[in-house]
Symmetry: D2
Subunit: 400 residues, 4 copies
Amino acid sequence: MKSYKIINDPIYGFITVPRGLFLEILDHPMVQRLRRISQLGCSPLVYPGAVHTRFHHVMGAFHLMQKALSVLESKGSELSEEEKEGACLAILLHDLGHGPFSHALEGHLLPFSHEKITKILIQNLDEEFEGKLGIALQIFEGRYHKPFLNQLVASQLDVDRMDYLSRDSFYTGVAEGVISYDRIILMMNTSQQQLVLEEKGIYSLEKFLTARKLMYWQVYLHKTAVAAEKMLLSWIKRLKYLIQGGAKPPICPHLFTLLNTRTEESNPQIWLDDYLQLDDINVLYSLKVSSRWKEDFITSELASRILNRNLFKIELTDLPSNPDLIESRLTEVMSDLNLTREEAKYLVLEGQESNTAYRIQRDEILILKKDGQVIPYSDFPNQLVSSGQVVKYYLSYPKK
Amino acid sequence: MKSYKIINDPIYGFITVPRGLFLEILDHPMVQRLRRISQLGCSPLVYPGAVHTRFHHVMGAFHLMQKALSVLESKGSELSEEEKEGACLAILLHDLGHGPFSHALEGHLLPFSHEKITKILIQNLDEEFEGKLGIALQIFEGRYHKPFLNQLVASQLDVDRMDYLSRDSFYTGVAEGVISYDRIILMMNTSQQQLVLEEKGIYSLEKFLTARKLMYWQVYLHKTAVAAEKMLLSWIKRLKYLIQGGAKPPICPHLFTLLNTRTEESNPQIWLDDYLQLDDINVLYSLKVSSRWKEDFITSELASRILNRNLFKIELTDLPSNPDLIESRLTEVMSDLNLTREEAKYLVLEGQESNTAYRIQRDEILILKKDGQVIPYSDFPNQLVSSGQVVKYYLSYPKK
Amino acid sequence: MKSYKIINDPIYGFITVPRGLFLEILDHPMVQRLRRISQLGCSPLVYPGAVHTRFHHVMGAFHLMQKALSVLESKGSELSEEEKEGACLAILLHDLGHGPFSHALEGHLLPFSHEKITKILIQNLDEEFEGKLGIALQIFEGRYHKPFLNQLVASQLDVDRMDYLSRDSFYTGVAEGVISYDRIILMMNTSQQQLVLEEKGIYSLEKFLTARKLMYWQVYLHKTAVAAEKMLLSWIKRLKYLIQGGAKPPICPHLFTLLNTRTEESNPQIWLDDYLQLDDINVLYSLKVSSRWKEDFITSELASRILNRNLFKIELTDLPSNPDLIESRLTEVMSDLNLTREEAKYLVLEGQESNTAYRIQRDEILILKKDGQVIPYSDFPNQLVSSGQVVKYYLSYPKK
Amino acid sequence: MKSYKIINDPIYGFITVPRGLFLEILDHPMVQRLRRISQLGCSPLVYPGAVHTRFHHVMGAFHLMQKALSVLESKGSELSEEEKEGACLAILLHDLGHGPFSHALEGHLLPFSHEKITKILIQNLDEEFEGKLGIALQIFEGRYHKPFLNQLVASQLDVDRMDYLSRDSFYTGVAEGVISYDRIILMMNTSQQQLVLEEKGIYSLEKFLTARKLMYWQVYLHKTAVAAEKMLLSWIKRLKYLIQGGAKPPICPHLFTLLNTRTEESNPQIWLDDYLQLDDINVLYSLKVSSRWKEDFITSELASRILNRNLFKIELTDLPSNPDLIESRLTEVMSDLNLTREEAKYLVLEGQESNTAYRIQRDEILILKKDGQVIPYSDFPNQLVSSGQVVKYYLSYPKK
């Protein structure tokens, strides 16, 4: 008789976490830290309800993994207790490496992806838990010998995406992202150890792919949220520039140290403790104090605008911004605010964002047809979602 | 100070119906008759929750029309009280001509579309209500001089579709059909008296078009429901054949009369009273009594199978069924059940169903771009939904 | 590896029915008949969305039973496969004996409760299925030696109530009835073979008891629905009176036979076939034909008013209606409609309805306290719901 | 033609904020600050989804106020534009005075209630907005000459409660708190300038009162959340003691200043700027740095336990904790952790919490009966909710 901790979840009703290893992992400070990292970075400035956290997301993905494994077992996949535990741990830990504001600052506090950092953290935890995370690590890295377990954690049809679409849709109130996660999971199966979707789940799959595309444009790349994220990033870049030039902006020490360090991949020990001490709280606190810092106009201007939601104007276009236009924005900002060109570049932000609704050819979603054949989704007749990548260009600057 | 009747609706919360003309129309037996016509014909045999009625649908569409008119007014469209009343009445009455089981038997009890019959019924009501339905009739027929009112009632972006997708999705439990009707309505506007959608509603529109496509395949053309509908239709055809040959099957008299009449468009008076007396109850009752009728095996077999959900096997294919396959099914049925070829054809059902997700070129949905330009949706860059018509072929027959 | 049929349910998402015995039972005409019996009788006249059926309810209750058994097993209750099957079958069949319009006509078509008829039908099915329903029958009758199984089917905390409150609330759109069925089930346990609720589920229990009380007054005993039901009952009584006096009203033969028979409990064979042929369709069809019957004003008046929702006025009071008031209503109706006193009594309807939110002393809900003690809910400190029975008196008659 | 900003809300769909004064107020840093104050203090440690903010709550309450005013107007209440604006502003600003973690620290950072602080802040804003908030201030203080406006903002049936119950229920996933806010609002009316509820809304009212009671015990006073809040409060008290004794704990300067000041009601200028700079971020940041502070074990122990959700054990009882038991807990903590009695008192926390489901006699909810009479809810027959206050006593201390 197993014992469980039951946790309310507004989306799935209840999430049950077995006592023992799972609960110990969940209670570990590294996982609890995710309570202080918002899932959607700056999106709450646009969608005030979207204040949910990475912690909640990994619990939700863990819940879906339990469901998925149970469906696959009921259809004949043989899974040992260790494998099921490994897959559940892999998903519970898959976002451990995220830093403050999730993707918004990724690559700018440390020159690594969050996956890379996650891997190091799981390795450390594995030592702490005396090797109990070995299979989880293999699954997380995508090298376990039963590919379908790897695919449940990271693929175009993984429980990660299923949870974040459901959760982000729920908390933003954007109905476009609602998917039938339960139906998709019920239609999962395996074929030659690959994860496949039974043909009669095809409409739920198309709903899922469509929802993902629409959520990209309506939420993840909402122009106001993009403006806020680029302002936050510009603030970090300005701080890094100033710190590396010897200034002492009044920000949190761990953030200061990271921005001052020329981080080296070879030795995570240099940056790991500082990084783990960082979460949204440190960044928000640093925004608050630096918004009143008298010594650099750019730093305080960006910080106070983010905090008070006094955001830059932003234009999203299908073609790259005209260099003349960028130049004229720069000139205006220089003249209006009495700044040098180099300074003005922190306030005239341009670049591109892209989204691929569905990636073909490599690592496609596999469909198990009624006749037993397995084909990639892109070969399915009349399929709705094509693979085209969409790129949008942004130009953002202070309103007059 | 207006007085309202408030009606609970599980989808919209409450629907408010102004007392006076609206409530009189709602209480009219012709509208109350829609309480006894199921919205989705045979679908409850697949989706047991989908037992909602045409009555509920027209009330929902009426509710959305109220919302839409209020949004358009707030954006500067000038609308008289008579026009608003006319649009609301037009949508409240737009399904009046439906017969039992909605689309399933359309064209087989009478050689007219339900729209044609609706028009006659609104004309009759207009006389009864002393000309108060004049604008409503014009709007229903699509010939009112403000096209956006016509388009709210019948177009690719009308409140009819918005309600039925929302409602059918809710009652079936198929999340694929959930749409953001409220967001779409908020993004409506007019341009040169045409209904347009503001650009920032584009993702809600794509969600709506996708939902419609997915609902077609997952619900409206669900193969089991198609089998049931074709069986129901075959039962009607068999009865008509027998009756016109002089037989007296024990079915409801109004149905008998209609099946016995060579209906003429020129004079609705011949069939109108019988038609209005018919609803799902008469057909279901006729199924029940004819299921015990000893004199024709085909009639009783079809009726009892429908009632007890002992449905035919059905195959849906992308290509027309192979004539040899059809022939072999026919031969089997003839031999297994000791029937003639003519009789067996009532039990080996084949044909095609099609769906067009979005119709281009003619009567497209118009998008109002941020720069003020109005373009058809198919000219919008990166649009998700293409116009391709999808055709599927079915072959249905008794299971061995 | 078990095989399942998956059925969409808008409330629970999916219901899974194991192939084999369960699916055979579900497909049996006796169970399929419940598709044609509305769960809430005349309530759709008030709540147009509430058109759900007994069939859907028993499937929902079956789903909750599966959940409940799985929770109890996980907490250490030992249950054989036969016992689990028995409990699931008992709940799937527990409403088999309902007649048309569920409770509205109960006791008036046959002088038995629906439970009594259900018992006979399960016995018949047990023969047909060669004794496989033995445990189910014992559980249904409340005499299985593990009382908690009986209590899951019929008690103040059974899955029947949990499903109907959830379902009726969902379909009416009355949020007052929403309960946390999943939390209640998670908090179920057994103690000395009795069903108990763990103390930390106490708030969910109170929500459930409150919801039940509120649903009684807001939905089940909504005054307009009561008026409709009493009119329906009066129509049946009038028909019975006329038929037993030799008249031949144009109603469905099975209904005619039942109303003409002096049914005897001793021999169900006399009435069983006629009763099983009856469902809402027959009653509605009989309403339709009798609404045009020229030979009895009372019959046709009641029928056409029900069909067209032209309902009587109704008053609900805390005290019995004043005899003088009743008398004056009778006199008015006699004079307005030119009827005898005996006739007028079919149109001036009075009586009482009552509801007990929670029944104390006998068969109470048992609470398992944290210290291991088991106490009846009424002994729990600060409990919200008291036991008082509420009685209301109605008087209903044609509007002037 | 008014212009609106449309904001997604997962509960109400959309909230529309008129451009002009409302949007300026919403964009004011004092209101934006509420984005950084969590609605439920420490509850996210129990309900991980409940991370919503005061900002979102005031927007929701503002939305319900718009609905309520529109209903009252449609029923004949005469309201000027200024009055409607005043009521909407009053509710938008009603929580301005809340400090970090909402109620958890109320009265401990400043010796005033949040209402008192709110009043001062509205007065300041009124100056800034040149007297445009005059009516709003009167309504907030409950002294406007149309009492129903005051009652909509603060009474036992105000839109504040309606929003927080709906919102807290939604974000926690505790279905017990779901209420029919839309139905309650539809049933509102006025009588002699008092807010009344029409009798047919009585069941929705009872649902609302019950929901409030249940949410108190299941969410607001959930024992684990109480433990966390009392630990947070103890940490603040410890800091205050140390600071006032001359220590320099590494916490945020504004918090330091407030804890060091002997605040005086007479002159808010002393504390106002520091207070407005404080939100959850400062407290969380101070928790983070003080959790690594070496100089005081009690401070760092409490801080790190809160951050890592390593909470004290807690017992809730109906009677005050036995002094012997408290003494024995204190002794244990002193001996286990080598602390003095004075120090141990920061780790053995005891006290009481109470809740009154409904307050009778003073300021009751008024019911407008069908006969036109207005009575207090407690005089309504068979009413469900009684007035009894419930008190629970807690004792919380480190787990062994």
